[in-house]
């Protein structure tokens, strides 16, 4: 199970946070801060795994992260997930974002958090991996966006008719 997915930048500013277990807002912020603290002090050329320790619920959990330019993508998972599988998933996630936003950069994530959430929802559901095939994910996301657009024009049609 995936317990949390966090994206924050090099300064620890959260860009996306998705907790699959309930914490109150203060705890969530604290988790983000601590995770940032742990992850940011690690060198670039060390392994991508961190034993979570006290952070989110004990020794069974690991932090698996990747650093892309200005952003850290951190997944907190338990022992039923494979480390490399999750690394792969992060890669798929980032590539999907890249396709959906066309050359994704931090600004896209800043201004379109909702879209990022929608993409993520097609990959991970309730802490379990739903889909790992990038094409499949993009197809579904696109179909939903198309539907949204048609609704907008419909609204306009409604208004002006």
């Amino acid at each position: 199970m995936i317990k949390a997915i966090l994206i924050f930048n090099n300064h620890g500013k959260p860009r996306l946070s998705k907790f699959y277990e309930h914490y109150n807002e203060d705890t969530e912020q604290q988790i983000i801060r601590e995770t940032f603290h742990l992850v940011s002090k690690r060198d670039e050329n060390v392994c991508n795994f961190l034993e979570g320790g006290m952070l989110i619920g004990g020794s069974d959990y690991k932090l698996i992260y990747r650093h892309y330019a200005t952003l850290y993508f951190v997944f907190c998972v338990d022992s039923s997930e494979s480390e490399l599988g999750i690394l792969d998933l992060i890669q798929v996630f980032v590539e999907t974002l890249d396709k959906c936003f066309e050359n994704v950069c931090e600004l896209d994530l800043i201004f379109h958090v909702d879209k990022v959430h929608n993409i993520l929802a097609e990959m991970v559901m309730g802490g379990m991996v739903l889909e790992t095939n990038m094409n499949e994910i993009i197809t579904q996301v696109d179909a939903q966006n198309k539907m949204e657009k048609s609704e907008v024009s419909l609204t306009l049609f409604d208004i002006y008719s």
């Binding site: 996306l16 807002e25 494979s82 599988g85 379109h112 939903q144």
Partner: protein, 1062 residues
Amino acid sequence: MALKIVKGSIDRMFDKNLQDLVRGIRNHKEDEAKYISTCIDEIKQELKQDNIAVKANAVCKLTYLQMLGYDVSWAAFNIVEVMSSSKFTYKRIGYLAASQCFHESTDVIMLTTNQIRKDLSSPNQYDTGVALTGLSCFVTPDLARDLANDIMTLMSHTKPYIRKKAVLIMYKVFLKYPESLRPAFPRLKEKLEDPDPGVQSAAVNVICELARRNPKNYLSLAPLFFKLMTSSTNNWVLIKIIKLFGALTPLEPRLGKKLIEPLTNLIHRIMSADRSVYIPFLVARVRTKGESMSVLKYVKAMFVFVVKYLGLLAMSKILKTHPKSVQSHKDLILQCLDDKDESIRLRALDLLYGMVSKKNLMEIVKKLMLHVDKAEGTTYRDELLTKIIDICSQSNYQYITNFEWYISILVELTRLEGTRHGHLIASQMLDVAIRVKAIRVFAVAQMATLLDNAHLLTGNVQRKGICEVLYAAAWICGEFSEHLDNPTQTLEAMLRPKVATLPGHIQAVYVQNAAKLFATVLKSQEGNTDSTAAQETSQLMIDRLPLFVQSANLEVQERASCILQLVKYIQKLQQKDVEIAEEVIALFAGELNPVAPKAQKKVPVPEGLDLDAWINEPPSESESEDEQPRAIFAKEEPKHSRPRHTEVDEKELAKRREARKQEQANNPFYIKSSPSSQKVYQEAPGVEHIPVVQIDLSVPLKVPGLPMSDQYVKLEEERRQKDRADKKKKEKKKRKEKRSGRGKRHDSGPESEEDITPAHMVDIVTEEMPEVPSRISNTISPSTLWVFDDKKSSKHKKKKQKKEKEEKEKKKKKKHHHHHHHSDGGGEESVQNGTVEEEEPLPVSRDGPDQVNDIQGNLQDGSQVVVSVIFENKCDSFLKSMEFNVLDSLNSKLQRPEGSGPHDGLTVPFQLPPGQSNVCLFVIHYLLFVVVFPQNEDSSTHEKLDFKLHFTCTSYLISTPCYSDAFAKLLESGDLKCSSVKLEGVVMPFHHLLARICFRHHFSVVERIDSCASMYSRSIQDHHVCLLVKTSGQTVSIDAKCDEPTLLGNVLDEIKQTFSQC
């Protein structure tokens, strides 16, 4: 109607959308909180409108604010409204918001049931999809119960997109509503063979999660999974299946064998593809012999890859089942210990535990000790320490061939700064000394040195944890005092007044063992014709024990007064020239025999004895206030080895035996049975079955000169070589006699150790720690601060000395108390229990006490400084109690025990006989002190001394070791401001100069090359201060760098001042 909509949408154009909100927040970096609160007000307005579009927009913004840490639960109802919109766009926004902030205790969730049910059966697959995704995040037991059936029907939906989500969400439903598992399971099983790979993968996923909790129920699915494993090409599915098999194989051994072939194929297939990285966990999951062997070579190849971590993880899994196969990779793993990545180092440490053998233990531990010295973070260092002890002590010290080496390792570990594991080290010392008889001579010598240098361990508050070691040291020295070279000296060391600053339970051990030592000393001195020596010893006891009699700790007080009376009586007898040594020794006679922890179970309960019956009815109230004294002391009760009376009837005997065994079973010092203990319990049936642990002990033939653990490695090698040579010779002989030469490696049993007298042991510690100055003894130099001059003190005039306070570092500190863990029972309790002296001071012109202090930052807590104050009683009367108080100000506060008011003083945890001095450490959050000395002897007078402490800038520096590479990095970073100072006419040698800077200003030397040295320190607020000190002739130039220019200036000024004084 249309008009209203038009109006609404025109309004909408003026509302902020999410992008505007984000932009606004970015533009208001200064007053972000204020800006957001106005935004929230706007959002509240928007939520009140009827237009769903406006509402959805507001909810969307709230979702963003929730991520930033704002509580948005107040909008839960509006979120439900948006969720129930018929438009997909809004519905999606609503469900997203709900998934982010709804949880089980959100009450509006009850309202959603019907809406969700409607969405689930919507003709639009994306409506259903969004509902499922949302539900997966906030499903409650009620929702699960109500919707289980709807979801179950969705599992056979025509669209794979829905099937996939429905299957996956079933796991969440099972968790919340377990009753649904049974009816849903057949369908779930069906989905394993779904034509769509996504659905298949989801089903595998769910079953794997279920099987993790209870693998047994899923054994029947093994053939199905077996088929999937051979046919599937989806890596995700493969990983999950292999994880599942990992859980199943322990339950069904035949499965393992069956899996070898497909797994090896799989590995080969994957290895050739670019996904080579997946191997380790394939390895890890399936624990079959053949499989792990064939795969180890791939694991080894992994080290070439980036993924060392996973390789190590896999190895640790294999290690559990096949330790041998991993042991051959020892070098590889040791290399990983040098890795700069902490995750990898920790993993490697775990592996080491299983890899040690008699041969490589010393080598591995030596390596670990090097790491201990180098380690930077305390957590990693503590981890190393526990690992070293774990490794050495595993399975009853199975791998230790030389216990002298182990003791010296333990002694070396006591020198660690700031470790929390003093207790662990202490228990190891006790364990080894008690269980390994042959080591006692050596252990006692080592412990005596430790006691002698106790001030090094206790001198520093930061080392509180480590003083536990003294507990072990005192006990060992007392119990095995017959092995001591110079018992008088040790006795002297144990009765130093400084001991009174130790925690209560340690003091108690000190007192009791001082008595044991006293007995030994008496015995050795009584043989002499001159009886004065013996009388002097008694006098020493009588002089020093009163200090403990007045201790605040009950245990200490009780023991001390008891022993004091005893010694007084002995002294009386001595004056009459009566030989009493034998009798005194008899008080502490009796040997300790380790008993196995489970030995008690082997003894059958005698007939007619009801263990559950009360012997005495329990008192109505439990009186468990005094938890301080430990059970350990039970054993130290004077024992008489009295012959047993046979007249006592059988029942009584059994009862007694039972009671004694009960006591011993509860006694941590009775650990393992040894042959000698069997004799005692011969009558008890079944004692033969008590597991007797043979401690394999072979000792070096040579007495080591220096107890550095390293040398033991060399010694051990030599010894082994010699052994080997010996053995060869023997074998040659034996071959003729047709005896197998495979005896024990070493047969010079423990007896041979008895006559080894460690000659050089006493100077060891001092020899190795010359550069660590005893902070306290050095502070006595009068120049450090100020001394009260008794002549100046006049009647009715408070003594006062004002000193300018350093303003610079007086940044605001947190005002609340930090619970600094004092294990010091004595000092703190006395305040709570004793009376706090509040009377007006009666100023009496007397010789005032003498105080010198040293102020130092506290390593563990950045907002504290520790002040050590030396109290010296210069008058001729006895100071019965002293109180130490600080007037709290805005910037500083004395750390008081919990529960005392802000004006209460701290009672100094010792008393001062005339002419003596003692040290007390106080944790202060800075400022001014008042010491009250109620001088109580003849007239019960009180005197108050006012004084001020000078907090210099360097008081806030903490001497922190820094390595040259880290130092270089720091300098390169360019964040540091530079400044320099030149000192003329400094005549002292360079190393004195460095020592002075180190000592006075809490720096540590990073590197020294000829007449040039770099030094480092940091402030309690983590400002780095770097110095480069150069000397040529009488000129010393100091270049300093620091990230805080004011601090830098002040530090330099102080250094200048220090050297201008001399």
